[in-house]
Symmetry: C2
């Protein structure tokens, strides 16, 4: 069989059975092989950043990698920002980048570029497969690298002739199970001693400690020791809602984080980085750990998080019944005109059980997290790498991974416009995604940042660069153009009705909500 078919069979044999793609000529054999390997689901994307972001979203929910198929260096470039986010989210992902035939390289044809160099920036594994015979084992190695602890992006570069030539055979065999690094007992003992001691402590969870038993144990440890339980600012996936451990996320603003950590003498990190400011500001510290506070890293990204928390719970005497549980509610639907807080309250009342929220609502979405704390249990997906433009693609991928759950993409006007093409793929794939498009007509966060970085007296020309008016963007028209039903809600009643309709209707829809900027 040819390389392409063996590659697909190998991927499927290793449980990589979903591929988000934007193919070109050099990928045609991969595309043709889809009819031979029907176990591989393919999702067409109109822009590569949609494909890479969707694979990230898929991995966050499915816990296993999807593949993406990209067209040479420029295709990889278009997908790079969301690969950056995937890297930061530790999402396992196999990027297959088609390349010219090896015999064609020397001619420096127009699309020739240095793919490996660009891929290296986001990948733990970069390999150009140079023979059809070795392609399948290269693919198996890519999957193994992607699922290793922690998850990461593996990039397999696939020259067209390696893909089209005969002589390949698939590598079948179980996907490698990542082996986590064992727990560092010195750090663990130090953390346990601190938690048992009298100084104010905080347990900061991130990564895999934001879900499942790990989160429950971390919460029980905090309760048992009187420590504060915090989560990193932008976890890749946070389980929350009624009945789950309530956890406060660190603020995006350094000033806010400083308040949250004020007076903490011991900070226990569980799969979370030591808190730093998202950006630097003149005259302000980047390191947000309070002076004199001791940091204990009981588990990092590649470590055995469950093992560390089990050991720590034992050492401090925390028991499962000490896991705090979020109360449901409050109930009460707002009425009348909409502002950011009212939008949040409506969502909080209606969020369906098992919902997956892809949060890129930025300033206008700031209140939604609080308003949904007591909503039925749900997942919350954040902007793990800080590169705007992942919200809609991640929602697409999450919906493909979890077809039985409602996905809510909480979007802002500016953010949505990096990758609006995701809407079309949601429509084609029949994804149950409700986009709540919070439209305040500006890059509102930058108006705040312009002030925070100390730019003096910003004038009209500067402010014009942060304004999304002239012309106003009509998201209802835009979404309909991409094949997704859309409507606009201007009151709480309209929003509640629109969301109820959307949640009850299979497939995607967009609800645009004009809101005044909160700043």
């Amino acid at each position: 069989m040819n390389g392409a078919r063996a590659l697909l069979e190998t991927l499927v044999a290793h449980e990589v059975d979903t591929c988000f793609m934007n193919p070109g000529t050099s990928e045609m054999h991969f595309v043709a092989a889809l009819d031979d390997v029907t176990a591989m689901r393919s999702v067409l994307c109109l822009f590569e950043g949609v494909a890479t972001g969707a694979a990230d979203g898929f991995a966050r929910l499915a816990g296993r990698p999807a593949a993406v198929l990209l067209h040479l260096g420029p295709g990889l470039g278009n997908g790079l920002a969301n690969l950056h986010n995937a890297r930061r989210a530790h999402s396992p992902l196999v990027a297959v980048v088609g390349d010219h035939a090896t015999t064609h390289w020397k001619y420096d044809a127009q699309l020739q570029s240095d793919i490996e160099t660009v891929a290296r920036n986001v990948s733990t594994f970069v390999h150009t497969s140079l023979s059809t015979e070795s392609l399948s084992s290269d693919a198996a190695a890519a999957v193994a690298a992607a699922v290793g602890a922690p998850g990461s992006v593996a990039t397999l570069i696939l020259p067209a002739d390696v893909s089209w030539s005969e002589g390949a055979s698939p590598v079948v065999g179980a996907r490698a199970v990542p082996v986590a690094r064992p727990v560092d007992t010195t750090e663990l003992d130090g953390a346990a001693a601190a938690l048992r001691g009298s100084g104010p402590c905080a347990v900061l969870v991130g990564g895999r400690a934001c879900t499942g038993t790990a989160l429950e144990r971390a919460a029980a440890i905090a309760t048992a020791t009187g420590a504060k339980l915090l989560a990193e600012t932008f976890p890749a996936r946070l389980e929350r809602g009624a009945g789950r451990p309530p956890v406060e996320r660190l603020g995006y603003l350094a000033e806010f984080t400083a308040m949250q950590l004020d007076g903490i003498a011991h900070l226990v990190l569980v799969d979370a980085a030591s808190p730093v400011s998202f950006f630097a500001y003149p005259g302000k510290p980047s390191d947000l750990v309070p002076e004199g506070c001791q940091v204990h890293t009981v588990a990092g990204p590649g470590d055995d998080v469950d093992g560390a928390l089990e050991a720590l719970a034992y050492l401090v005497g925390a028991t499962p019944d000490q896991t705090p549980r979020q109360q449901a509610g409050p109930s009460g639907m707002p009425r009348g005109t909409l502002d950011a807080a009212a939008v949040a309250a409506v969502i909080g009342q209606l969020l369906p059980e098992g919902a997956i929220v892809s949060d890129e609502g930025n300033t206008s979405g700031l209140f939604v997290s609080g308003a949904t704390a007591g909503s039925p249990p749900h997942d919350w997906l954040c902007l793990a790498g800080g590169a705007i433009g992942q919200g809609l693609p991640v929602a697409l991928g999450a919906a493909i991974a979890c077809p039985d759950r409602r996905v809510v993409a909480l979007e802002a006007d500016g953010s949505s416009l990096y990758t609006p093409q995701a809407w079309w793929s949601m429509a084609r794939a029949g994804c149950d995604v409700t986009t709540v498009l919070l439209n305040n007509g500006s890059y509102a966060i930058l108006n705040l940042e312009l002030d925070r970085v100390g730019a003096e007296r910003p004038g009209p020309r500067a402010k014009d660069m942060l304004d999304l008016g002239r012309p106003d963007i009509d998201f209802v028209s835009l979404a309909r153009g991409l094949g997704v039903p859309a409507e606009r809600a201007t009151t709480a009643d309209e929003l509640a009705a629109a969301l109820s309709r959307s949640f009850a209707t299979p497939g995607p829809s967009v609800v645009e909500v004009p809101v005044p900027s909160i700043l």
Copy 2:
């Protein structure tokens, strides 16, 4: 003054007075300085690929670089595909990529990445400015690199603290004039001998030989010696139309190029690469130079093209009056139903004098070049690097460079969806851009390529990946959503009326034309 202001003043002093931008927090001082340096025009883009493509289009028309302002590694990633195209077009371009403050790097905050590595792939100059005092001279060096022969992308990485700190002063002084490499007389003599000889010759022009006196001289040389005049497949800018030298471009399909070069014994290259296939195909040669044909490179990208052609004209005795001139016409407006050929004929009848055509029409646009050969003089901008998604951004940049000329973006459905956000910037900047959106509901070129690469019996799952239906995309709705007036034309009369209205109306508009695929 702070670094940001000095940087802007330095850029303006070096004739870089237009900046296409999508800024973030780390670029806020650059944005704030726009009110101090009002000679810098700033154009806000909703996506970075729009900014980089626009700067490419600007350079192709203005002959000097624009700046782009991008937000860290992910912003550069989003702009990368069109920087690839700019690199291939030899467009001078200064990319300013904001970075975290130098003091922030060690914390590996979420948006931290290796910007230099990614930039190197597309840039001849990559430099991270490490002090406010040296920022202006670094900027001057970047401009010098960009405008060097041939033009290229220069990337200046600007840490936030270098931008916000005081102590900078602008570097004023004329922009460096690029010094072209002198002519290689051996190659020149060989070419002259061949052209004077009896074997069949072709002169292949590319790059700067596609405009002005260079093109006229090359055409005169061909006439004087009986050689065939050809242009490279995708010139960055080709001057054509009634009264200008008629020149046939090499075909995109290797089979077609082979026919064009059949029997040629001597191929004279003037700022053009030796012809190679765009992609490789199983069992077919990549090198398209006929066997036994001798190639003479009288000028390459960094060479003195005008000098080489002047010398060659002298050696073969070609005189200015031998420059062939394209006849106007034919006239005659088609009527009735529209197919790709009828669309082309309508455009050919109505194209305004001095128009600039940004051609990303792909298969459906194939006939437009022929139909406009005798239209009033105009410029034709091609997909120089082969990375789809440049058409609308290049049109935006061309319109900013030439506000007195009508720009026609000849777009295909699939191509337009990589960077549709360009429409909004056209509306905001009041650009006179008419987009003709040829909608055949598919990646039609890939249906052809699927066959050409020898993929056997493509099945329904493969074909589904090349189909842009389910749901159909409504470009009228999409463009209106982005603030651009749009209408749909389904007959030749409707198209003629719509184009006439658009050409007579200031500002952008979109005309969607449903056409059957030509394949």
